[in-house]
């Protein structure tokens, strides 16, 4: 683009160096996770398991019972995302109607909520969820971020792009609201639906502050919190329950794999969503 040989060479160098800061730590993590306990405690550069062992994963499954929080996370992710998408898509559809009286006020009110980040209302959020009797329930985590201004506005923009002529002629043919929504709006707004679905799934999978606030029951804990106690185990060197780096990294790999598979499949939407979000706000 810039037609400069120097910059082209520099570009390759920069991008490869940058990619290495992603790839090398990852190889290091995977290699450590497949190393024996004793091997993982040796100083040095581990880029290949030496000696090879799956005892890290064994400890993670049997002693840490990582599958339990994993199932909780999956439940919250799937149910929470399904509800999120329905609520935000329907709201976005309604707000895409230009003739709706008071529409601008409603949109302004929704955008106003962007000014309230979760991290600034941790204490009252805890109080509200406690008053509703939602502490230590997975429902609390489903309710979190159930509606976001980002998703509503994104859906609204998608629905607004549906050509008016199509809708008018369908109305002439006697199509009702539901038929219009399902047969005409939905297919055209599908990329938007997929975008908010994949983004919300990632959000729910990575949920950290909310389970930290709401969940203390070990049976209801989520993957990220369970992982934190495994990774944070580094400090408990003095107890007999010492967690070696191979177990920690096995946990990281176990949490990483679903995300990376997901990324491989939905890359297109995760990337186009960024540029859409970046331009629109």
């Amino acid at each position: 683009m810039l037609q400069s040989r120097g910059i082209r060479i520099a570009s390759w160098v920069i991008l490869i160096a940058l990619s290495l800061t992603m790839i090398v730590p990852l190889i290091n993590v995977v290699a450590t996770s497949f190393t024996s306990k004793a091997g993982s405690l040796q100083p040095g550069v581990i880029l290949w398991p030496e000696p090879f062992s799956v005892e890290g994963y064994f400890t993670l499954m049997n002693r840490m019972r990582i599958w339990l929080p994993f199932m909780n996370t999956m439940y919250v992710t799937i149910v929470g995302t399904a509800l999120h998408v329905v609520l935000c898509a329907v709201a976005g559809y309604a707000l895409s109607n230009e003739n709706l009286p008071g529409r601008n006020w409603i949109v302004a009110a929704i955008l106003f909520t962007l000014a309230i980040p979760t991290q600034t209302i941790l204490v009252p959020l805890f109080i509200v969820f406690r008053d509703f009797g939602l502490l230590n329930t997975l429902l609390s985590l489903i309710l979190v971020d159930l509606v976001t201004a980002f998703s509503i506005v994104l859906m609204k923009t998608y629905f607004e792009q549906v050509p008016k002529e199509i809708i008018e002629s369908a109305t002439m043919d006697g199509a009702g609201h539901l038929r219009l929504f399902w047969n005409f709006y939905m297919p055209l707004a599908l990329p938007g639906v997929i975008t908010i679905t994949v983004f919300h799934m990632v959000t729910k999978y990575n949920l950290f502050i909310h389970p930290l606030l709401f969940i203390s029951d070990p049976d209801k804990t989520t993957l990220q919190i369970a992982l934190q106690s495994v990774v944070g185990g580094e400090g408990s060197t003095f107890t007999s329950d010492f967690i070696a780096p191979n177990v920690m990294m096995a946990g990281i790999v176990a949490a990483l794999i679903p995300l990376l598979i997901f990324f491989a499949f939905f890359q297109r939407y995760l990337i186009s969503g960024v540029t859409a979000g970046g331009v629109k706000g």
């Binding site: 992603m22 993590v29 100083p43 009286p101 209302i121 201004a149 949490a255 960024v274």
Partner: protein
């Protein structure tokens, strides 16, 4: 965020303002199912976002004991907060972490974005783009886990530095107060580098290559072409990234919380973390809520001031 600015003019608004109240009511009556469709979303936002925020304000003006509220005490919680050494330190930490993340997170990603636009085989470009974007999707527990492994005293970085003879003893990256903030800033920047680069990259794709050719004919070298053509072109995108980064950084929680331990607490405890420690762990609701309100006001102020920074005003399109 700035979603309102890019929307097309609203046709509905004109109809309403011309027709007046009667028309408004007639329209509302005819279109009532649409309100039913927005209602659940609005209800959720009111109950789980606006109501807690108002609660936060209310609690911050009350004295709270184990049995609940013991009445309003005016600004006492705020006086306590402003004279609390931990709160002041947390505020200073928040400001310096915010400044670091905003500066690094806004400007550094311009480099890989330009680099991405420069390299040619398209599959390579997309591959590298995916690789540098991936960390954005990872939760903080995973990010910290990965880097704790790489930068542990027996890990890759220390082993290499020792092997090269640059250091005698391993650097305690995650258990030294001086490393706390640089790591929070550095890892946040690293995590979002690809994400921000993607925003810049999208802006770069709309650049008029004839301008660059013209600059080349005028004898501008590569760096001059970047400075005079590319950077002015992506200024609106820089503004967007600046705002996203600034607001995100001002309520840093996860990253710093996961790096917080006895040694690093003093330097990485942000205001958000303070409200959690005091309010949830020690159940000292009054001062924690006051600190929460201070943080909320601080982030809203930052956002408002940032909108009016010179050079960041959106230019009116001719």
């Amino acid at each position: 965020m700035t979603a309102t600015e890019h929307q097309p003019p609203r046709l509905g608004a004109e109809v309403v303002s011309k027709g007046g109240a009667r028309r408004f009511i007639a329209g509302a009556r005819r279109l009532w199912p649409y309100y039913v469709m927005v209602a659940p979303a609005l209800l959720w936002l009111a109950v789980f976002l606006v109501w807690p925020m108002m609660q936060g304000f209310l609690i911050s003006f009350q004295k709270f004991g184990l049995m609940g509220s013991q009445g309003f005490i005016g600004l006492e919680n705020y006086q306590k907060a402003f004279s609390d050494r931990t709160v002041i330190q947390a505020f200073i930490n928040t400001v310096s972490i915010t400044a670091g993340i905003t500066i690094a997170g806004t400007f550094l990603p311009i480099i890989p974005a330009i680099a991405l636009a420069e390299i040619t085989p398209r599959p390579m470009r997309q591959g590298l783009q995916s690789v540098i974007y991936a960390p954005h999707l990872l939760g903080w527990v995973i990010i910290i886990g990965i880097w704790m492994n790489v930068m542990s005293p027996i890990g890759l970085v220390n082993s290499i530095l020792q092997g090269l003879g640059l250091i005698d003893n391993p650097i305690p990256f995650f258990s030294h107060p001086a490393w706390g903030q640089p790591l929070v800033i550095g890892l946040t920047t690293w995590k979002d580098l690809g994400f921000h680069a993607l925003i810049y990259y999208a802006a770069l794709m709309t650049i008029n290559t004839e301008l660059i050719e013209a600059a080349a004919i005028d004898g501008a070298n590569g760096l001059q072409r970047i400075r005079d053509v590319v950077i002015p072109h992506i200024t609106p995108a820089i503004r967007v990234v600046f705002l996203i980064t600034l607001l995100g950084a001002s309520h840093t929680f996860d990253s710093a919380f996961l790096m917080l331990n006895g040694r690093t607490a003093e330097t990485v405890r942000t205001l958000a973390i303070f409200t959690y420690e005091r309010g949830i762990l020690r159940f000292d609701l009054g001062i924690a809520s006051a600190a929460g309100v201070i943080l909320l006001v601080f982030s809203i102020l930052l956002g408002t001031i940032a909108q009016f920074l010179p050079g960041f005003r959106p230019k009116k399109e001719a």
